[in-house]
Symmetry: C2
Subunit: 236 residues, 2 copies
């Protein structure tokens, strides 16, 4: 067996143990000296295997502590984003949970009135939710909805989906127009999402439209950058 084959073999064995949970996320893998003994190889061979997994985002070096298994990210498919959050998470085998941080009516800001095509004197529902997957906060979501034609006052959004509710009230979202920016977490957002201040976030602004083209939802979502990535397939 050549030296190249050895480090590749170790790399593959470590990857298998990360993926099958032998080495769970946020825990340290064995020390270099232990891996050298286990695989009967030299330190450079172990280091090369680890370095490849670090470059591939599976492992992370921690100063003075060792090498840690990184938290796997959640794939968010752009083609599925109109599906409800709970359904999406369940598809991925993750346990969803929603906390309602705020639910009230308030006068629309100029931005919200414009996106919902309401007059500047309109009153809107404001719903702020923090959504979890397997106990970790994933996305902070602020949704604005017209009060005219909707009755959301008695809905428990901890357990009920906003999109299901809109469908029941003859205001199903059939099309969304979404803008994506990046954003640094401010102190409040960082606290809620359990990340450090200034960590990069995905920052979505979404206008949800009915089949008739009437806007019924304007949402602002902040997704943790360390826990999510988005996949898209495009044809020429």
């Amino acid at each position: 067996m050549t030296s190249i084959a050895k480090h590749t073999q170790i790399e593959q064995d470590l990857r298998t143990k990360i993926q099958d949970g032998t080495y769970p996320p946020q825990t340290l893998i064995p020390r270099e000296v232990d891996l050298m003994a286990t695989y009967q190889v030299s330190r450079p061979t172990v280091r090369q295997a680890i370095q490849t997994l670090v470059e591939q985002g599976l492992l992370e070096k921690r100063k003075r502590r060792g090498t840690m298994v990184k938290q796997a990210k959640i794939v968010q498919a752009f083609t599925q984003v109109i599906e409800g959050y709970d359904a999406e998470m369940a598809d991925k085998g993750l346990q969803p949970q929603t906390k309602v941080l705020l639910f009230k009516t308030e006068p629309a800001t100029a931005e919200v009135a414009s996106k919902l095509q309401l007059s500047v004197t309109a009153v809107v529902y404001k719903l702020v939710r923090l959504r979890y997957a397997n106990g970790q906060p994933v996305v902070l979501l602020t949704s604005y909805l017209p009060t005219d034609g909707l009755d959301l006052a008695t809905v428990d959004f901890t357990t009920v989906s906003l999109y299901d509710t809109l469908t029941q009230q003859q205001a199903a979202v059939e099309r969304v127009r979404r803008r994506l920016d990046v954003l640094k977490a401010d102190e409040t957002t960082a606290d809620l999402l359990n990340v450090a201040v200034d960590e990069p976030l995905f920052y979505f602004h979404t206008q949800g439209l009915t089949a008739q083209g009437t806007p019924v939802e304007y949402s602002i979502a902040k997704y943790r950058g360390d826990l999510n990535y988005f996949m898209m397939d495009l044809q020429r």
Copy 2:
């Protein structure tokens, strides 16, 4: 005219002047005291109009300097990403420019070999380009391509599009599979893109496939977060 109507009117007038170039990007708008005189209103009314435009991302407060017009971001439509960069920028009325930072052949890394479905001993082209719009760096793009079946050695990628070249060499990209993460700019990337270290970037990994499903391109793109945003329309 009520006070609400006044600040909305000032807000609309300022927005028009930003959009028609009366107040160009990166310049200061008149001082509050001058706007008070121009519009014959009180300071709180001027401040309310400015605050709305700050929230909408058109203006930015600068300490001790005044209120600056923000650089407008470039809309990147997800539906158009297979179009070449120059064509996309021209559509938007922006002057494109490309600098080739590196072009060479090198042994494929494990990641590149896997994405291009090559053996680990394969040699690939590596092309690093920095792309500009109206003189500002917008995206840093590293592309890997198979050397087998492609002859890129004589192509001047300063003026010629990679996708046009692939089409000419019977390896047209017809479908892309793209992953989007967020990333903090490291020192080198920050220098090249002319942003501060740790500024958030869009971070794309793209696999380009021919009509037959053969991967012919693997690219890593870092888009400035302050200069770009992405729009997408989704149907249920």
